[in-house]
Symmetry: C2
Subunit: 266 residues, 2 copies
């Protein structure tokens, strides 16, 4: 049976609220995901929260009931609470019906099987959590094998990244590593490393991609370092007809990924 | 000569800070844009702020000096200030070197010349300011004639939208209108209205686009109403290979727009 928490000052509420901060996530090795859609996506991907907060008013919703049942069966904690406390947990005036606390999960390069997918996404020093989540969401859509985060990237378990991923955090494998380790791993097997660049005449539509294709997206403000570009097997550009010289990082990744997908599907 | 404001409590600072709120923007008919890159983009597009706040430490930067000179020559107000006040204005711990206050500008459907561009972007009930700005940025990149916002959309002059646009707000015409008025205007001349849909078998890569192409993007959560889809000349789908059934709205718009661009450029 779910227990109830209705006191705003309950210490558990504070400790969960703290997961909005990176420092606390790192200490607790847990993160927050909000909303029935994302939590259902997680459940279907085999990831259940260790704690599930839900509004009393939503207790009868079939998806909420399924979540509560499965969380309790797995030994987790299902907690009925108030809209006020859900607001506090989610940091929003109009809170979602459910908020879940998940254990962080992490895999390494060695866990990836590059033969499983034709497209892999690689992002280096990504700064914006919305971009990270959106790239994961696109990764899910193109059937990418995973997202490899190189160097100091924003935390994929941040609330904004989880939200922007719309659940893809639970379905697309994410690896964090350093550039050197990535390159060593990449060159141990087949794989075409493709970078987006301003310094090339090769249009992304005219290039030929060979699976598995690793699409490298550089930092939002600076793009990728010269050394990274030099390590690429192929540099391509996306036409820019206007005043600006770059696209949003998640947009550029998606335009590239869909071109690669179209080629690979023939 | 620029004047100085160093008092945090200066009423002008509060009135400018208030422009972060939609209500105050509506009252003052002004909005904020931040950062040297965006303000320089605006200047090059012929838009100067009526007020320009800049950090004393940045006063020697050539781009800042150009901005200060041009703002003053145009009768605007250039104000040297402190990092603290810039932080207050921009709502960020690490403020930009410059913050500009611009008069809102607005054009109508009648001001658009559809023969000027092969691609036009149309978004209905867009909710997220980051998506709006990112769509503008993509619009600039593909040479779109403009962005037509249909129905109750987020404010294109919000700080987040301006920031995500990276200056494209100043280079890509934006029109706000109702669906009925848009349709009447559209059907007065040539124009293919293309909608993204889950209920079609037509792949976006196999479809044929005819300039001027109007790409319609629906609300982030609900997509477009059935009636809107019925009004389209063409409905297409983007392949979704994963668990999710939709892309981020700005990503979907970009993937479509680049396909149309590729076809139109032959």
């Amino acid at each position: 049976m779910p227990r109830q928490i209705t006191a705003y000052t309950n210490p558990l509420v504070k400790s969960v609220r703290d997961l909005r901060d990176k420092r606390h996530r790192r200490e607790q090795r847990r993160f927050l995901a909000e909303g029935l859609r994302i939590l259902t996506e997680a459940r279907e991907a085999g990831r259940l929260p260790v704690m599930l907060f839900f509004a009393a008013a939503s207790a009868g919703h079939p998806l909420v009931r399924t979540l509560v049942d499965e969380v309790e069966r797995a030994g987790g904690d299902a907690i009925e609470t108030t809209p006020d406390i859900l607001s506090k947990l989610s940091g929003k005036d109009n809170p979602q019906a459910v908020v879940g606390v998940f254990e962080e999960f992490e895999i390494g390069l060695a866990d990836l099987d590059r033969t499983q997918a034709g497209i892999w996404l690689v992002a280096e020093r990504l700064r914006d959590p919305g971009n990270l989540g959106t790239i994961l969401r696109t990764g899910d859509a193109v059937g990418a094998g995973g997202l490899i985060l190189v160097g100091e990237c924003v935390d994929p378990f941040s609330v904004e990244a989880v939200r922007a991923s719309m659940g893809a955090l639970f379905t697309v494998p994410v690896v964090r590593c350093e550039w050197g380790d990535f390159l060593v791993w990449l060159r141990k097997g087949p794989g075409q490393l493709v970078g987006l660049s301003l310094d090339t005449e090769d249009d992304y539509r005219a290039a030929e991609y060979a699976a598995p294709t690793f699409l490298l997206t550089g930092n939002e403000a600076q793009g990728m370092p010269d050394g990274y570009a030099a390590a690429c097997d192929l540099l391509v550009k996306i036409p820019m007809l206007g005043k600006a010289d770059s696209l949003n990082a998640a947009v550029a990744t998606a335009v590239m990924a869909y071109e690669v997908l179209a080629q690979q599907r023939g």
